[in-house]
């Protein structure tokens, strides 16, 4: 009997505590290998990358990386300096929810019969979400917001059978006039 490999993100019972989480915004040269250089700094110092968003900047010579990491907060300042030291890094800074706007998007695919649909739509509306795919047996909901809101929405949709979820990872932008 063959066993199928489960590739969906079914939650594991107890998430291991990896220490405090931090969000770094890194402006880098848009060159091959830059991500590898940065990842090596984190892994060498025992930091885990929880989320990662990379996209080209308005000036195509540069890319913006938003990296969510968890690890020993004592080592954070030094790790920022080590990342900043890389020739391809223009700057690297930490952002908190106080000084920056943090947003993330999640797609949630649920099994949903016509009878269950109105309840699913109600939850979607509560989280200011949108349905982006609808079939007689399923629905994909898109929700944006901070990480806590996204987690709350997943909790609510758990009353249905969640087939899978995909998150973009968070992006941050500094509040006010100063650049990120």
């Amino acid at each position: 009997m063959s066993q199928s490999i489960v590739t969906t993100d079914t939650p594991i019972p107890a998430a291991t505590n990896r220490g405090a989480t931090h969000t770094l915004s890194v402006l880098v040269n848009n060159e091959p290998g830059v991500l590898m250089r940065i990842c090596q700094v984190f892994s060498r110092r025992g930091f885990n990358i929880d989320s990662l968003v990379v996209s080209q900047g308005r000036n195509a010579n540069f890319s913006r990386m938003t990296i969510g990491i968890s690890g020993d907060p004592k080592g954070l300042h030094q790790i920022i300096m080590q990342v900043s030291k890389l020739i391809d890094v223009i700057h690297c800074s930490e952002h908190t929810s106080e000084n920056a706007v943090t947003k993330e998007m999640i797609l949630i695919k649920i099994k949903c019969s016509p009878a269950e649909r109105s309840q699913a739509l109600q939850i979607t509306e509560h989280f200011s979400g949108k349905t982006v795919d609808l079939t007689p047996a399923s629905m994909i909901v898109m929700i944006t917001g901070d990480s806590a809101k996204l987690e709350a929405s997943v909790d609510m949709f758990s009353q249905f059978e969640i087939i899978e979820t995909v998150r973009t990872g968070k992006v941050v932008m500094a509040r006010g006039v100063q650049p990120t």
Partner: protein
């Protein structure tokens, strides 16, 4: 086309543009080993007329250590040229060695053609990916016209700020492809600003001067950063004005003359007892250009806990990495000292210096001349016979620590030793690089029997170029430093350290046409060394048969506090060290 170069830039290929650029940058030596993917670049060495000299080594590791030795003896980078795959792979240890010790170097590796990258082509290795953690920066070139710009960026990055090695991986179609670019293009590195090391906040300088004025028991810790910034004069002024004692790191040896009355010698795990005592008892530590390596601080939490600490370092990532200072000045050492020196006056340290002099008398560095030949005696006599003026390169282990203790350096760039990486096999090829850089200086390579055998194939390179290196092999038939740890901390269970089967090193030298002397009796040392040091027609090997089981003291067990230093063999069994290696 061959022979017609260089007529106009249209006729150049990428390799020729690269070689012309390296020559224009002032690179004097290229150390290397050829191979398929690098043939176009080797061909350019023949078709382009340059002032550069190429040295064919016997193994790529030798080439990198030679370039390293050249740089440590001059402060200037040399180039390394190797082929793809195994050729490039063999440079990794040397790159790591240079990276750990902030040594500038440019390594050029051949690579398979671009359309075969990532397809497991013959002799293909992702050397760009492999070397990321062991270089200051690296490149995989995708366009022939980029080669001069990349070479110039590489040189700039390698030699400015905190120096380090830079690797340029050049696919074969890029090196042999036509070149139609600019040989001296401008470049921009928006993420790299070494010039900020010269903008020092006046407030920080004032704070430093205030801290210094309040000190009664100051100590200056001078690291290699002082040497790289060429701040020896400013360091001397600081020390003499304050009448503050100076200890140096292993790599800082020579930046402050070790024969000076204020010199305490090297500190740390096998440093002098008086240097370590000074660290424990000082009320102000002025660290100029040292990264507070774990070999010198022991236990970070207990290090200098009663003293104020000023840390001057060019690398912002060193701020608070090991020791959190009371004042951090991220700056070039020379620039910082110049400004601090304008704001300081003499301190009364008479009592403090007298106390340290007492320690110097109580815990002198010493060794026995009975019961067989000691490595220390050979090194001590080398020091006296060469009047302390030689460039000394060492390998790694017991002999390295004894050389650091007994060969007192008077000048910068005269001590070549793999500190951070602790790379065995470094010493002898580094000496070759240093001798090529400084043909008129005496160069002494001091190795143990273990490390020497890791790169002894470069005897051929030394012989061919008739380099008058004094190749000292201190043979105790053991990997002595590990054996010492096993004796002290592992109930003398020797494991994996017995080098039974060592060759007759004199016969080995003879096979390369290199003369040798053999020393076994302490009484013969002076006579034999004199004979060897007088020989300058090429290399000479000095094979010293030393006592098998001697230990280096003083010693601070790894991870222990400086207070736990032992100055002689303990009577009782010691706990296993908690620190790194």
């Amino acid at each position: 086309m061959k022979g017609a170069f260089p007529m106009s830039k249209e006729q150049l290929d990428g390799a020729q543009a690269l070689i012309k650029t390296l020559d224009d940058l002032g690179i004097e030596y290229i150390f290397g080993y050829s191979g398929g993917a690098a043939i176009p670049i080797f061909d350019a060495l023949e078709t382009v007329k340059t002032k550069m000299k190429f040295i064919l080594v016997r193994h790529e590791q030798g080439a990198v250590h030679m370039a390293d030795g050249y740089a440590r003896a001059t402060g200037r980078p040399a180039a390394v040229l190797v082929t793809s795959g195994p050729g490039a792979g063999n440079t990794v240890t040397g790159l790591m060695t240079a990276m750990m010790d902030s040594v500038p170097m440019i390594v050029i590796s051949g690579q398979t053609v671009t359309w075969m990258l990532g397809k497991d082509a013959f002799q293909e290795a992702d050397i760009f990916g492999i070397t990321i953690p062991v270089v200051k920066h690296n490149y995989l070139v995708k366009n022939s016209n980029d080669l001069p710009r990349i070479a110039r960026e590489a040189y700039h990055i390698a030699t400015t700020g905190r120096p380090g090695p830079v690797l340029i991986d050049v696919p074969k179609d890029i090196s042999q492809g036509p070149f139609s670019g600019d040989l001296n293009p401008p470049f921009e590195l928006p993420g790299y600003h070494p010039e900020t090391a010269f903008n020092i906040s006046p407030a920080a300088i004032k704070e430093a001067a205030d801290m210094i004025a309040k000190a009664r028991r100051p100590v200056i810790l001078a690291g290699q950063g002082c040497m790289i910034a060429r701040a020896a004069e400013e360091l001397m002024y600081l020390a003499e004005t304050l009448q503050a004692p100076v200890t140096t790191t292993l790599l800082g040896k020579g930046v402050f003359p070790e024969t000076h009355p204020l010199a305490l010698g090297m500190l740390g795990m096998h440093g002098t007892a008086y240097a370590n005592k000074a660290m424990i008892e000082c009320d102000l530590l002025i660290n100029v250009g040292s990264r507070f390596d774990d070999r010198i601080i022991g236990q970070p939490a207990k290090f200098c806990k009663d003293a104020k600490v000023i840390h001057i370092d060019i690398d912002p990532a060193e701020a608070g990495k090991m020791v959190v200072p009371d004042l951090m000045i991220v700056a070039d050492a020379k620039a910082a000292l110049t400004e601090i020196n304008e704001k300081i006056g003499p301190l009364d340290t008479t009592e403090w210096l007298a106390k340290l002099d007492g320690y110097k008398k109580k815990y002198p560095l010493s060794y026995k001349k009975q019961g067989g030949l000691r490595m220390q005696q050979v090194i001590d006599e080398l020091y006296h016979l060469s009047e302390g003026k030689a460039i000394v390169s060492t390998d790694v282990g017991q002999h390295q620590m004894w050389a650091a203790q007994f060969y007192k350096n008077a000048e910068s760039y005269h001590w070549l030793s793999s500190g951070g990486a602790g790379t065995m096999g470094f010493g002898f090829p580094a000496a070759i690089g240093a001798q090529l850089a400084c043909p008129d200086k005496m160069v002494i390579s001091i190795s143990g029997d273990g490390g020497f055998q890791m790169t002894l194939f470069e005897l051929a390179t030394a012989a061919i170029h008739k380099l008058p290196i004094k190749i000292v092999v201190l043979n105790n038939h053991y990997l002595g430093m590990v054996r010492q740890w096993q004796e002290l901390f592992y109930e003398d269970r020797t494991s994996g350290v017995d080098l039974v089967g060592n060759p007759d090193f004199c016969k080995l030298a003879g096979a390369y046409g290199i003369p040798s002397v053999y020393i076994k009796r302490p009484a013969d040392v002076t006579k034999q060394l004199k004979k060897a040091l007088a020989y300058n027609d090429g290399p000479i090997l000095i094979h010293a048969e030393c006592v098998k089981t001697d230990n280096v003291f003083p010693m601070i067990p790894a991870g222990a506090a400086l207070e736990d230093m032992i100055t002689e063999a303990p009577k009782t069994r010691m706990a296993k060290p908690i620190g790194s290696t």
